[in-house]
Symmetry: C2
């Protein structure tokens, strides 16, 4: 399920540059292209069996999204935000999602609320079965339900962009011991607050959720960079 792009060129037949941009974005978000990897126009063109032109346009589209970094005469690489930047992005994302949750609590329609319940039930089953891959996908869908429920397309747009940008660094975070179960509990708390119409509580629950996510990621990142610690 490709997230709605900021523009809406989705209805007309997408052009090749757009298809390539979408593919590259997916590859980056999914981790198939590692942060720091060089994006050579010529080889990418060969890989996609097109000329350099659409590849260039795809890279130019991706650069403003922050997924790739472009240096004027030195080519593009998959973005590698330093730890500082990542922390800043987590802070902003927490606030964006808190904002979305608050709006959800106030403005969600009954249908949307039912959808949220269904999604939670679905994810509860995955937690029981230990289906990490399924949970990961359902997690994205859950947060997108929150964006949609905020009834604010612009908020949804930048929250989605932020989420995508952080995705490569959150990928493994759900593998932490017991993280999936805790994550689900946090989701339940969020939904409960929203269903009760308690905007402040929903926002606080979402801030806490993102905060835990970040902490878990930081802990895993540290464990990976120096596994030699006593």
């Amino acid at each position: 399920m490709p997230a709605a792009s900021p523009q809406e060129p989705s209805k007309p037949r997408p052009t090749r540059a757009e298809a390539i941009a979408a593919q590259l974005a997916d590859d980056i978000v999914a981790g198939r292209l590692r942060p720091g990897a060089a994006l050579d126009e010529t080889s990418l063109a060969a890989h996609f069996a097109v000329s350099r032109t659409p590849v260039r346009e795809a890279l130019r589209q991706l650069a403003p999204t922050g997924l790739v970094q472009s240096v004027p005469r030195r080519g593009c690489v998959v973005a590698v935000p330093d730890a500082n930047q990542l922390a800043e992005m987590f802070v902003v994302m927490a606030e964006l999602e808190a904002m979305a949750a608050a709006h959800c609590a106030m403005a969600m329609t009954p249908q949307e609320r039912r959808g949220l319940e269904r999604q939670i039930a679905c994810m509860a089953a995955m937690v029981r079965d230990g289906d990490v891959a399924g949970y990961r996908a359902a997690n994205v869908a859950f947060h997108h339900l929150l964006y949609a429920g905020s009834h604010n397309r612009y908020l949804a747009e930048i929250a989605t962009a932020t989420r995508r940008r952080l995705a490569p660094f959150r990928a493994a975070q759900l593998e932490a011991p017991d993280r999936m179960r805790k994550s689900h509990e946090e989701h339940v708390a969020i939904v409960t607050a929203i269903q009760r119409g308690e905007a402040a509580a929903a926002a606080a629950a979402l801030r806490a959720h993102i905060d835990v996510t970040e902490r878990t990621w930081v802990a895993m990142a540290e464990a990976r960079t120096r596994p030699d610690a006593a």
Copy 2:
């Protein structure tokens, strides 16, 4: 003072496509290119005395920023968000700036605080002299001081993007009767809260400021679209 672009290709010599993108962005933000205006690649290429290629890349860079809307085989036009979308963007911008102000209250350095004071003093003089053009520019600088003071580059990035996207629709708002003086008073309230380290108050002051800005704009827009009302 061009706002720092999301990426940092500013240090190396900018390429022509980037220069054109910056120029087009300025033209749109300043209102020289009206929302809805067609952006024809060929004529733009002639205008800038280059071939179509850098123009195309510039447009491709601008599309994800939301300043221009691109429809796959039908060209680009200067973006025309409907009133609904604009309202949503104002809501998000209020929260983003409130977030920045809260961080400022907590984390601004003494130098940054002095800079804020200087800017306010400067703008007070402009209010006295009725220098609307100068005030407009100083206003942008003021808000950028807040972004910088938040010590969160990502927040600064998306706040700047949002501000730019709204700029064409806020352009005339300062011309409303007495708006400049009121705006300055709101700025003073914001700075006072920040200097006292009162994060919540600073955030609230900024929310109120943006809210008034939006209301003023809406009132002016309505007055312009139906000046026939009794």
